[in-house]
């Protein structure tokens, strides 16, 4: 291989998938939407008589075979969208107490397979340049002030996105950083896959996940 990096890059060809315009090329089974009934033995009470609660689920597979994964990556809820961010959407990630896997899955949406930049989605290094804050992990005392200050530093309009079971409900580890009514977007998964994260972020800025709804916007993945 030549160390002329430009040529190296061109020779490799296009590696980016067309998701979310098309179905995911390599959707994981865990996590994905679960389908089933009855069951028990859930360590986080995500299996109830009323059914499966995606935000609590840590996808530990203890409910198998009563529940089975479907491969469906749309396990998120968008409560509010901001169409202002349709052309460019800048995200500030904040680790309030994560194990590292949500951090890595969030970074993965910028890998060539997903390439969030092509959709106008970017990561920023300071909340002052951010349109949305991505909160990952449970609440920890040491990060409370950093979270509050990051939120206050963001300009209006702004969105708050909870990424992963810990951030949404506390998961199996502890307590969520914020009350759930403060979240505009909740992304389930332990950790959520890059497909789920990309689809949720795209929907949050009013983007169309074409494979599902032909352009009307994926406001509710439920």
């Amino acid at each position: 291989m030549s160390s002329l990096w430009f040529l190296n890059g061109v020779r490799k060809g296009i590696k980016t998938e067309r998701y979310p315009s098309t179905d995911p090329a390599a959707a994981p089974q865990w996590p994905s939407r679960l389908s089933g009934s009855n069951g028990g033995n859930c360590p986080v009470d995500a299996i109830t008589p009323e059914g499966w609660i995606k935000e609590k689920c840590i996808f530990c597979r203890r409910c198998v075979p009563d529940y089975q994964p479907t491969g469906d990556q749309d396990i998120f809820t968008v409560k509010k969208t901001e169409d202002t961010f349709l052309k460019s959407f800048h995200l500030f990630p904040l680790d309030s107490g994560a194990c590292g896997s949500c951090n890595m899955e969030f970074l993965s949406i910028f890998a060539p397979q997903y390439d969030a930049n092509r959709l106008g989605i970017f990561m920023v290094n300071t909340p002052r340049h951010a349109d949305a804050i991505i909160i990952m992990g449970v609440m920890t005392q040491g990060m409370k002030e950093a979270l509050d200050r990051a939120y206050e530093a963001m300009p209006e309009p702004k969105l708050v996105i909870a990424l992963g079971a810990c951030a949404v409900t506390g998961g199996i580890i502890g307590n969520a950083p914020l009350d759930r009514e403060k979240y505009h977007v909740e992304i389930a998964g332990c950790p959520p896959s890059p497909y789920t994260i990309l689809s949720a972020i795209n929907a949050a800025r009013g983007g169309s996940n074409m494979r599902r709804d032909s352009g009307s916007g994926n406001r509710e993945a439920d």
């Binding site: 291989m1 160390s3 990096w5 430009f6 190296n8 890059g9 490799k12 590696k15 390599a26 994981p28 089974q29 865990w30 360590p43 840590i58 996808f59 530990c60 597979r61 203890r62 500030f92 990630p93 904040l94 680790d95 309030s96 107490g97 994560a98 194990c99 590292g100 896997s101 949500c102 951090n103 890595m104 899955e105 970074l107 993965s108 910028f110 890998a111 060539p112 397979q113 997903y114 990561m123 920023v124 290094n125 300071t126 992990g137 449970v138 920890t140 005392q141 040491g142 990060m143 950093a146 979270l147 990051a150 998961g171 199996i172 580890i173 502890g174 332990c190 950790p191 896959s193 890059p194």
Partner: protein
């Protein structure tokens, strides 16, 4: 305990747990002193605070850089800003495992296996040979992904967008291999006390492809003098206690895989890659060589590997300890189990000594060296910032 005993400090220091100090084969009830160093700015110097929350860091960690402007005179690191309390004591081992996997999600296989091996040691559980091969594959796959991430992040501050993205592409491919093998991209719930569940269909071809593609990128990086210049003599450290790739880059023949009693590293002819450049370049070089070596080991181990279901630990009691070579270095677990419940659990992460090594190695460097050096250690804060309850 079959491999560890309580006693006076002896052999290589691995790290401190909440109560103990862990050495190669000994657990000491007296924690090893790691000197906390304070620094007073000299006239003309100031403290530059970096973190805990910034997009330039994967995890939350706070740095105080003492500097007159460009030269870094001293670094203070606070890895405990995001300390998580984990309620593990009182749980059955299989329930505790769900928590242990999430101590460091990126190194979940290492944490899970070290914990499982400590429980198996405590309860005299025999594990089939085929499962040891499967566990070796899990550990080496995790090492490949982790090392790819380190090499990628070392390319980032150099502005090497093409290799950075090409390695990022490979890292995602390895995540997909792991998902196919273990059913989960981070090995969560893939192994159990006494057992392991993997699916190896198609893995060998995919791993060969990773080896070939990374080998090409690695060779091209070695031809890039500008890139090498950013790494060489950056973050020199060859004093004190070093673990993992940082130790091997400094010429030390230390690796928990050499002392492994169960996983068949010796049968596969494993020899650690030792280098003599104790800087960011040496750490980059050792990690890259380990990626290539790990792909070979996985290819050989696949044909011998197999599955086994979990062992019931209800009502059992005992005390055990184990250590594995995580991608960052020695990772140690100790457990005491009474009537099938975890009465005590102690863990020592390689992050403790690696942060200390990074801190010492940074003095005398300049600001633009900082990211290369930090990333070259591959430190994970989540593993250190936990309080087990």
């Amino acid at each position: 305990m079959r491999y560890y005993r309580f006693g006076n400090p002896e052999g290589r220091f691995i790290g401190n747990t909440e109560k103990y100090a862990a050495y190669e084969n000994v657990i000491s009830e007296h924690r090893h002193e790691i000197g906390a160093e304070s620094y007073q700015n000299l006239p003309g110097e100031f403290t530059f605070a970096y973190g805990p929350a910034t997009g330039g860091l994967i995890e939350s960690v706070a740095f105080d850089l003492h500097t007159p402007g460009e030269l870094i005179k001293h670094v203070g690191v606070d890895p405990y800003v995001k300390t998580r309390p984990l309620k593990i004591r009182g749980l059955a081992p299989q329930d505790a495992l769900l928590m242990v996997e999430r101590i460091n999600g990126f190194h979940a296989a290492s944490n899970a296996l070290a914990f499982e091996m400590a429980v198996e040691d405590a309860l005299d559980i025999d594990v089939p040979d085929r499962v040891w091969y499967s566990r070796l594959i899990m550990l080496e796959l995790e090492r490949i992904r982790s090392n790819l991430e380190v090499v990628k992040r070392v390319c980032e501050p150099a502005g090497f967008g093409v290799p950075q993205n090409q390695i990022s592409y490979l890292r995602e491919n390895v995540a997909r291999i792991i998902s196919r093998l273990a059913g989960h991209r981070y090995f969560f719930s893939a192994s159990s006390i006494g057992g392991c569940q993997i699916s190896k269909s198609g893995i060998e071809t995919m791993i060969s492809s990773v080896k070939r593609e990374f080998g090409e990128i690695f060779n091209a990086l070695l031809e890039s003098k500008i890139f090498l210049n950013r790494l060489q003599n950056n973050g020199n450290i060859n004093e004190g206690d070093l673990l993992g790739p940082a130790a091997r880059a400094a010429g030390r023949n230390v690796d928990a895989r050499l002392e492994e009693m169960h996983m068949p590293y010796a049968d596969l002819g494993f020899k650690p890659f030792i280098f003599d450049e104790p800087d960011a370049f040496g750490r980059f070089y050792v990690r890259s060589q380990e990626i290539l070596a790990s792909t070979d080991m996985i290819s050989e181990a696949l044909e011998h590997s197999g599955n086994s279901s979990a062992t019931d630990t209800a009502g059992a009691s005992g005390e055990g300890a184990a250590r594995v070579e995580s991608p960052q270095g020695d990772l140690f677990y100790y457990v005491r189990i009474t009537d099938g419940r975890i009465e005590d659990i102690q863990m020592s992460s390689p992050s403790l000594l690696n942060i200390e090594a990074f801190r010492k190695s940074m003095a005398g460097n300049i600001f633009t060296d900082y990211h290369f050096n930090w990333e070259s250690f591959g430190i994970w804060i989540s593993e250190l910032a936990v309080v087990i309850q």
